[in-house]
């Protein structure tokens, strides 16, 4: 094994060195200069994001435990942009609340550690690497959810998250042990060639699937979502709903389409039912929410149902549309959470009622919010429309007409509650609307990247063609 073959792990090595550099900087920076940590972390991560887009070879390391190809490489780049945008958006909150307690650096360390876990998870080549990646991506987020230690809800959210995450990973481990018993190996390559649908395998698969379903909050495992999103700091809610869910959906897609392909006749009907249940539950619960974070939580549950719509097909078109949709979803949700973050870090208001009359006082913010919600709902000029349209095409091409019809019904329901927010912002006058305020430059940049991402993905079609080309790797 040559030393330069380790360059296949370039993303991981770079991110790990950033974590070490930040630790050293934290040690040696004088106390009164701690606010420069934020700029330092942003600059480091910006460089990492930019370097991440340089081309990378395909291949595998450590006897197949770690593998990388162009699709995985591309998705890591998307995750990088997502995290970078999120950091820009949360800089203001960090500066205002966390620097006083001298806790700015921990935020970055934990967040980057979790991202590192996600890298390992999506390029895992066996179940051991997958499990370690999953845990490394989950545990720091639990610590981050408890970050506002003075707030009671923050602790409650963290304890709910860590206990349900531990249960989910325990259950999926039990499932993995059954897959190991029937196949005699934990490597994806070996399992793919020996997997047959016996009773033990099916039980193992179902238990294993439960663990991942928890991560993307599919319906029987969605109870933690709303509470954790509401209690945790907004950046963490945003991270959970955007980066964490995106990475989990991506690895679920890889596993279903490659390793678990022999069980396709089992997981197809399973995903069919879960997709319907997730969409309906998410949408119907979102109708009655007043808190914006809770509202976005249920909306993100519903979006997970749409992701399943693409997974159920199991074709190359399905892969491409799922990656495309997840990428769009990342940008749209980042924009929506960014506006909530901007308003909350200025005024502390998080309820839908407080948003009344926002257009009169803060027209730019409400325009960004409108674009984000249109994209989540799937209204033309913005990217969300194309994402949903392609998903429906993929599902219809396999003959799931009833599923597509019910999904369209769900789009209509979701349109209603997204428009409720837009009505509050644009049409209602409101008794005491949020006064005009100017956001910091980082926040503006963060919102700008998210909006540009939404528009570019929708209007610039070569991006979709590019994703479609890459998706050949998994079929």
């Amino acid at each position: 094994m040559e030393l330069n073959s380790f360059l296949l792990m370039r993303h991981e090595i770079l991110l790990f060195s950033i974590i070490l550099l930040l630790l050293i900087a934290e040690l040696f920076l004088p106390r009164n200069k701690k606010s420069s940590m934020i700029h330092l972390a942003l600059v480091f991560f910006g460089i990492h994001t930019a370097v991440g887009f340089l081309p990378l070879a395909e291949g595998s390391l450590f006897g197949g435990m770690f593998r990388s190809n162009e699709m995985i490489h591309f998705f890591k780049g998307v995750l990088n942009i997502g995290v970078f945008t999120l950091l820009l958006q949360s800089a203001q909150w960090l500066e205002k609340n966390m620097l006083k307690q001298d806790r700015g650096t921990e935020f970055f360390l934990l967040l980057f550690a979790s991202l590192l876990g996600m890298y390992f998870m999506i390029s895992a080549g066996d179940f051991l690497m997958f499990y370690i990646g999953l845990e490394l991506s989950t545990l720091p987020v639990a610590a981050l959810a408890a970050f506002e230690i003075m707030k009671r809800e923050s602790g409650e959210a963290a304890v709910k998250f860590i206990l349900s995450a531990a249960l989910a990973s325990g259950v999926s481990l039990f499932g993995i042990s059954m897959l190991y018993a029937t196949n005699g190996s934990i490597y994806f390559e070996d399992i793919m060639s020996t997997l047959t649908a016996t009773n033990l395998t099916l039980l193992g698969f179902i238990l294993f699937f439960a663990g991942l379903a928890f991560k993307i909050s599919l319906v029987p495992f969605h109870f933690w979502t709303a509470d954790v999103y509401q209690g945790a700091p907004i950046s963490i809610a945003s991270y959970l709903s955007v980066i964490s869910k995106g990475a989990a959906a991506f690895i679920l897609m890889i596993l279903l389409f490659t390793v678990l392909k022999p069980l396709m006749h089992v997981w197809e009907p399973l995903l069919y039912i879960l997709a319907l249940a997730t969409m309906f539950t998410g949408n119907l619960f979102a109708l009655r929410q007043q808190n914006m974070k809770r509202f976005l939580a249920y909306s993100s549950i519903a979006q997970a149902g749409f992701i399943l719509l693409g997974l159920v097909t199991g074709t190359q078109l399905g892969t491409a549309t799922v990656v495309y949709f997840v990428t769009i979803y990342i940008f749209s949700n980042l924009a929506a959470f960014g506006v909530v973050q901007a308003i909350s870090s200025q005024t502390g208001k998080e309820n839908m009622k407080d948003y009344e009359g926002l257009y009169r006082t803060n027209p730019k913010l409400s325009l960004v919010m409108m674009l984000a919600l249109f994209s989540l709902a799937g209204i033309p000029p913005v990217a969300g429309f194309f994402g949903k349209f392609f998903l429906f095409t993929a599902a219809a091409s396999k003959g799931y007409y009833l599923l597509v019809f019910l999904a369209v019904v769900n789009v209509t329901i979701s349109l209603y509650y997204y428009l409720l927010v837009i009505r509050a912002m644009f049409l209602r006058k409101g008794e005491n609307p949020i006064p005009f305020f100017k956001s910091k430059i980082y926040m503006k940049l963060g919102l700008f990247i998210a909006v540009m991402g939404m528009l570019a993905l929708g209007l610039y079609s070569p991006l979709y063609d590019y994703i479609y080309e890459l998706s050949a790797a998994f079929n």
């Binding site: 499990y131 610590a143 408890a146 009671r152 304890v159 206990l163 059954m178």
Partner: protein, 105 residues
């Protein structure tokens, strides 16, 4: 391999452990007991991995290695969970689920 004990018996034991864990997770009212139930689930899969390795595929050590990693990660998980629970206890002087819960529906 233990003489006189077949793999079926051990797997039955771990399955029972697993379901005790799940049952405890659902019914317990105290955060620490819920954490202990989760540990039961994790440990049942640790035993599973070791036994399957030893009885069915003794030529490779994959299951053993896996179980060591599970133990290490489970320790980290418990440490973090206990830290969070202590933090809650400091604020509320209670670790009962009913008293910590404010957010519903």
């Amino acid at each position: 391999m233990i003489p006189g004990v077949s793999i079926t018996e051990i797997l039955t034991l771990t399955s029972i452990l697993f379901f005790i864990g799940v049952y405890g997770f659902i019914t317990r009212k105290n955060l620490i007991s819920i954490l202990i139930s989760v540990e039961l689930i994790l440990n049942s899969s640790v035993v599973n991995f070791v036994v399957i390795n030893k009885y069915l595929y003794p030529e490779m050590l994959q299951g053993m290695v896996y179980s060591i990693f599970i133990i290490a990660v489970a320790a980290a998980e418990t440490a973090l969970a206990v830290a969070i629970i202590i933090n809650i206890y400091r604020r509320l002087s209670s670790v009962e689920v009913r008293e910590t819960e404010t957010m519903k529906y």
